[in-house]
């Protein structure tokens, strides 16, 4: 069994190491556990918890045990509330204790799993109050090998610090052992760490402030990384290890896991999850890892999003401007580059990063004017129309393309048949009212409703009337042909099943409100919404199977896809219902009424909202994939065709967007709002506009 399989949970620190072996650890615990794991540690060694989470200097002492990992700390606090346990204070030095006849303990600055940092007074200088910080390692690990490793680590920290000489790095004064405890005496740095400051500060730090800190940290990193003969890798850059002294200067504390870097050497995976670079999981610790961790730290300082609480390595999915729109694009780009997963793509050195920071306008306090903007049209308005056809009134209906013919209704009362390739007029049929209903073609017949109240069936070739079926209300709903019948709703509240051959009604069922949505059909049921906000599932025999009540009208036409039913409502939501039971599977709230009907492409659902956006949602769980903002309400229904999605907007444009990214491919301006829904066939997009025209555009 691997050593790591024995990493214990949080409770085990004080318990027998053999207990509670677990195959699995949660990230934060692993951070502690991993902190002293060295290659070659025997399998049964319990993790030592000494050197992470303690800071040498200036730590606020209000939270014992102030571990590194927030998650762990939360767990600890919860646990303390639920099961008060004796605080591990028995081993701590009491106030007033004198070590080596020289250092008088004044209090505790902070404590970690296996070490405590005290504030102490150096009695060698009796006339003045010379303060120092003393880190004590309590080495009570039962296993002698572990004890040895811990001592080794502690000595390593001491010796690394002792060789460093930089104003921003605490000086080492002394190192000694008393009994089973080792002590490291360092400079005391009064001040506050950036994590504490971040928690206290309301709102965001000014960008210029963060840049100034970043530049100072780069200086310290440059110093560490240029040590000879080997660079020193800090390996634990994070806000809580960055102190601001009383002059507001940055100091780096806690060299517990710093490492003298030997090129090509594989070390151990330590550091704090959330800030650590991905290569540390492959045992690689090198200077550019500190650059990544600095990038993570800056991301945290600017967004206030603690990376330890987020999915690891998800910075690129959480762009800074999403949380803090005041940060300049240039600074974001620098942080982005520091956070590259690929080491080679990061800044080559802290010096290079510093130069980039210095070049920022905002570094000098000059406000920058560039903000994140949506990239604009690739070929704006440079569209060539294949053909256009002028009707005598608004075109609200959506086209139906069948057998090389485009069928479309207009408010001039006519249903038009046009040649799909040339737009040549073939025939038209006049009804007694405007046509909002979109035609459907089946077996040589074209079906559509009219606001005169009738459902019409025409010969699709000649336009000759075959039959009509009158309802008692205007028809805005569009016909759905299935099971040999035409299903259509009317403002008289009824949904009818009409025999497609002879126009006789098989049954009709009454809804609570007018039916303007177009029915959808599943394997054995018909689904439609009404203006009272109810979605009905009725069997092929007309009997109600289930119904679902939204909070506002359902004008959007439902769509059946993989046993789910998708539709929008005036209540601003997009719903996905289980087809058989009518349970809501997921819902997504837009910022306006959803009149548009959904379309599906791959696993993505596309739907417009009156909030002006076209939404792309993951069809299985309703998560937002992208949304695209148009200049007006999107009541038109999108069409998906070969990796692109087409939709009209009340702003008068027809948009073609990349289905995966939502990037604009082109847009085409008509002279009136586009509420008609585009249809695509043979690489031609057909759509109507309130400017009376029907357009054929190249995809």
């Amino acid at each position: 069994m691997d050593e790591q399989e024995k990493t214990p949970g949080p409770e085990e620190s004080g318990a027998s190491p053999k207990e509670g072996l677990s195959t699995r650890v949660i990230q934060g615990l692993a951070a502690r556990a991993g902190s002293t794991r060295l290659t070659g540690v025997p399998p049964d060694v319990p993790p030592a918890q000494g050197d992470l989470g303690t800071r040498l200097t200036g730590a606020p002492s209000d939270v014992p045990p102030a571990q590194d990992d927030l998650g762990t700390r939360i767990t600890d606090v919860d646990r303390a509330a639920a099961h008060p346990r004796p605080a591990r204070t028995e081993g701590r030095l009491a106030e007033g204790t004198v070590l080596q006849g020289r250092y008088r303990i004044l209090g505790i600055l902070g404590a970690g799993g296996m070490s405590v940092v005290y504030k102490a007074q150096d009695l060698r200088f009796p006339k003045v109050m010379r303060l120092c910080a003393i880190k004590e390692m309590i080495n009570n690990a039962p296993d002698p090998k572990v004890r040895a490793v811990m001592v080794q680590n502690f000595e390593r920290e001491a010796s690394i610090l002792a060789t460093l000489n930089h104003p921003a790095i605490p000086q080492v004064y002394d190192y000694f052992v008393e009994g089973d405890r080792a002590y490291l005496v360092t400079e005391f740095i009064p001040g506050k760490d950036l994590e504490a400051l971040l928690n206290e500060t309301e709102g965001f730090f000014p960008e210029v402030q963060v840049i100034q800190w970043a530049i100072q940290i780069c200086d310290i990193l440059t110093y560490l990384h240029t040590r000879r003969p080997q660079p020193v890798v800090f390996r634990d850059m994070k806000p809580s290890n960055i102190m601001l002294d009383e002059q507001g200067r940055v100091r780096l504390v806690d060299f517990g896991i710093a490492k003298v870097f030997q090129s090509g050497e594989k070390g151990t995976m330590i550091g704090t999850e959330g800030y650590s670079p991905p290569e540390q999981y492959r045992g690689i610790a090198e200077p550019r890892g500190d650059i990544y961790a600095l990038g993570a730290t800056l991301h945290h300082l600017l967004t206030k999003q603690d990376p330890r609480l987020e999915t690891p390595f998800s910075f690129h999915q959480r762009p800074i401007h999403k949380y803090n729109p005041t940060v300049s694009v240039e600074f974001q780009e620098i942080i982005h580059r520091a956070l590259e997963y690929d080491i080679q793509k990061r800044f080559g050195s802290a010096e290079e990063l510093k130069r980039a920071l210095l070049s920022l306008k905002s570094a000098r306090g000059i406000p920058t004017t560039t903000y994140i903007s949506v990239p604009e049209a690739v070929q704006p308005d440079a569209m060539k129309v294949i053909w256009q056809f002028a009707c005598e009134d608004e075109v609200r209906s959506s086209p139906c393309i069948h057998g090389g013919v485009v069928y479309i209704g207009a408010y001039d009362h006519n249903l038009y048949a046009l040649d799909a390739e040339t737009g040549k007029f073939l025939w038209k049929y006049a009804t007694e009212g405007g046509i909002a209903s979109s035609p459907a073609v089946e077996e040589g017949r074209v079906f559509f409703g009219s606001t005169d109240g009738s459902l019409y069936a025409l010969n699709a070739d000649t336009g000759r009337l075959l039959w009509t079926y009158p309802t008692k209300g205007r028809i805005f709903s569009s016909p759905r042909v299935q099971f040999g019948h035409v299903f259509i709703g009317s403002d008289d509240h009824r949904l009818c099943a009409v025999n497609m051959v002879n126009g006789r009604v098989a049954w009709s069922t009454e809804a609570e409100g007018a039916i303007r949505s177009t029915p959808a059909t599943g394997a054995d049921a018909i689904y439609f919404g009404d203006e009272q906000g109810i979605l009905y599932a009725v069997g092929v025999n007309g009997r109600l199977v289930w119904r679902f009540r939204a909070r506002r009208a359902i004008t959007s036409s439902p769509l059946v896809h993989k046993d789910l039913l998708y539709f929008g409502s005036h209540d601003w939501f997009v719903y996905a219902l289980d087809l058989r039971s009518g349970w809501v599977v997921w819902r997504y709230r837009t910022d306006g009424p959803v009149v548009s009907s959904p379309a599906v492409g791959g696993n993505t659902l596309f739907i417009g909202s009156a909030d002006g956006h076209l939404y792309a949602l993951d069809a299985t769980n309703g998560y937002l994939v992208w949304r695209y903002r148009t200049g007006g309400q999107v009541t038109s229904s999108p069409a998906f065709y070969q990796g692109a999605v087409y939709v009209g907007s009340v702003d008068g444009y027809v948009y073609a967007l990349d289905a995966q990214t939502g990037q604009l491919r082109w847009r085409f301006q008509t002279n009136g709002p586009v509420v008609s829904s585009p249809r695509v066939a043979n690489d031609i997009v057909y759509v109507g506009s309130l400017d009376h025209n029907v357009y054929a555009l190249p995809t």
């Binding site: 195959t23 699995r24 209540d571 809501v584």
Partner: protein, 293 residues
């Protein structure tokens, strides 16, 4: 050539053939009668394994079916949890989590979902599953200090599976034409593989492969992954703890399930295979073959 259809039919004793919906007519609407007694064939097993002395996994299987004027699709609830933490915390955590999730889902089912009229005021299935896991998270955090657990829950409704997951227990869809892992592990190595920072092979042997960044009863806030999965005709849903998927390859799992006489037999053989391979961890597995529409 192996006939998948006839093989999968073995797991569907009650599978019925749906007649194609006929055209409705005024005089003779199609009969409302439909065959009853649809069951969801389920098999499950949980085992301590070879190298541990206690089983920290918990499984729960519930099935509800209802016949009457308003016929509900049969409901199957499958929950699998793999606990962690010493001093019995692991088994307490997983058992408590499984109970909390089942309790919340079934309570809501009876009070809200079992009828035929639904409304936007009801929680969505996604919200229901997430809420159930959040409650389990809260309960484990409060009552089992130091404990944590993975939690994988599948709600079967006809041939739709609604799945919620935290941790590295896995749900697979075994369809006649392929094999697909539905859930993704919340392990750090899984992300590194996704980022191209580690090969899948490196991840399999990485010392930190068991480090989870999400688990029930651990860090707040807990994020829950939800999935919707359409199970095609002849498809089987497999839920398992890492004690199975680390020991037995996906290929072997698939072969065992294909060769077994029943879902239950398949579960038992899978546990046996994991033990033969070393049985390093507790092994749990649930198999379900939804009856279709």
């Amino acid at each position: 050539m192996f006939n998948w259809k006839s093989w999968f039919r073995r797991f569907r004793p009650d599978a019925r053939r749906e007649e194609r919906p006929s055209a409705p007519t005024v005089t003779a609407p199609p009969p409302a009668h439909r065959p009853s007694r649809q069951r969801i064939p389920v098999g499950w097993a949980t085992d301590t394994g070879r190298q541990r002395n206690h089983n920290e996994d918990s499984v729960l299987v519930a099935e509800i079916w209802q016949e009457g004027y308003h016929r509900m699709p049969p409901l199957g609830l499958l929950i699998l949890a793999d606990g962690m933490g010493g001093h019995l915390a692991g088994e307490f955590a997983s058992a408590l989590a499984v109970r909390m999730v089942a309790g919340h889902i079934l309570r809501t089912y009876w009070t809200t979902f079992s009828g035929w009229e639904h409304s936007a005021d009801e929680p969505s299935v996604q919200e229901l599953l997430t809420e159930a896991i959040q409650r389990a998270h809260q309960a484990v955090s409060e009552r089992v200090p130091g404990g944590g657990t993975t939690l994988l829950c599948a709600l079967l409704l006809g041939n739709q599976a609604y799945i919620a997951n935290v941790g590295d227990s896995r749900a697979y869809l075994i369809a006649p034409d392929g094999w697909q892992q539905i859930t993704r592990d919340h392990s750090v190595v899984d992300i590194l593989v996704e980022l191209g920072q580690m090969t899948p092979d490196e991840a399999t042997h990485h010392p930190q492969r068991n480090v989870l960044y999400r688990a029930v009863g651990q860090k707040d806030p807990l994020e829950v992954d939800t999935f919707t999965c359409h199970i095609p005709e002849g498809g089987i849903l497999l839920l398992c703890s890492d004690g199975l998927w680390e020991m037995v390859s996906e290929q072997e799992m698939r072969e065992v399930i294909t060769a077994a006489d029943s879902l239950q037999a398949a579960c038992d053989i899978l546990v046996e295979r994991a033990n033969q391979a070393g049985g390093k961890d507790n092994i749990s597995v649930i198999l379900a073959a939804p009856p279709g529409p």
